[in-house]
Symmetry: C2
Subunit: 150 residues, 2 copies
DNA sequence: AATCATCACGTAATAACGTAATAAAAAGCG
DNA sequence: CGCTTTTTATTACGTTATTACGTGATGATT
């Protein structure tokens, strides 16, 4: 099986999972929201909001930024998409929603390429540090810039 | 001694340390750069770039945004200031420059208040996760949103 | 001192990112 | 169906950050 077919299969898996998750939580994965999600899946990496505006627009219809931001907000609230604050961009969240794991997005400082890793060790260490800082709870997501190994 | 005097003393300490660090690394802490740094120190928390524009401007002279951004870039490169990407703001980095510690900025999701903690445990755990992600090096700064304990 | 290279700053314009306000359309529900 | 809530369209606006270009300061080299 070709890598392209593999990727296509992976795509469909993600779409199906998103669909299921929304169905189970009474969330509506409307056409626009699904198109945004699909575009992020297909891109294979972080994409800016205005890039999404361009990619999902055509001659007939030009989407407004606010349309994309609303869809992104929905997808983020649903836990399907992460915002990379350092990159002003948005990226698919994959992996099982493990409540005890920290979801770390490593971002290559040069290319913007991202790799997501889930770690209970980091979660535990951060929890300790948070206590020290007087924080009673912390987000299960974080973003760390670095240099990817060639 | 009053808390105000203590803070004033702390201020002067930070300024002196910044001055020393720049001198030792042949960096030029010019008047504008020092004014920006001092303003961040005095504010005691994160400040937006355009806030800094306002605070450092007066009737006689209105600073341009780019002037502030250049000073912030210098201070960030020198390791004196940290950008909070989730808040679009800038904050003093304090503590000793411990190469083995992760500098974690906990950001209260509600108020934007920050607390900085250095942790070698988090650094080590993140290093392991980075290896897993195929990253050979990571930034010693990270930002975690959370909820401050009242 | 004159030359040269580099860095810092001023000024203006613009790009990039994100939100508010309002009205229209669509979807859920009795 | 009529009523309510959610979603979307359109427009305008606000905020954050960068680009471009010129000028002056600085510091070393000849
Ligand atoms: Zn939301
Ligand atoms: Zn994830
Ligand atoms: Zn820089
Ligand atoms: Zn620090």
């Amino acid at each position: 099986m070709s890598t392209k077919a593999l990727r296509k299969e992976e795509e469909e898996n993600l779409l199906r999972r998103a669909d299921d998750l929304c169905r189970q939580n009474n969330l509506r994965l409307t056409p626009i929201r699904e198109r945004v999600y699909r575009e992020l899946v297909q891109s294979g990496g972080p994409v800016g909001a205005y890039d999404l505006v361009d990619r999902l627009s055509n001659e007939k219809k030009r989407l407004a930024p606010v349309t994309i931001y609303r869809a992104l907000d929905f997808l983020r609230d649903a836990g399907l998409v992460h915002r990379l604050a350092t990159q002003n961009s948005y990226v698919i969240s994959h992996g099982q929603p493990d409540m005890n794991a920290m979801k770390i997005m490593f971002v290559d400082a040069k290319t913007g390429e991202t790799v997501e890793v889930h770690s209970t060790e980091v979660a535990e260490a951060v929890r300790k540090a948070a206590e020290q800082a007087g924080f009673k709870s912390v987000s299960p997501f974080m973003e760390v810039e670095g240099e990817i190994a060639q």
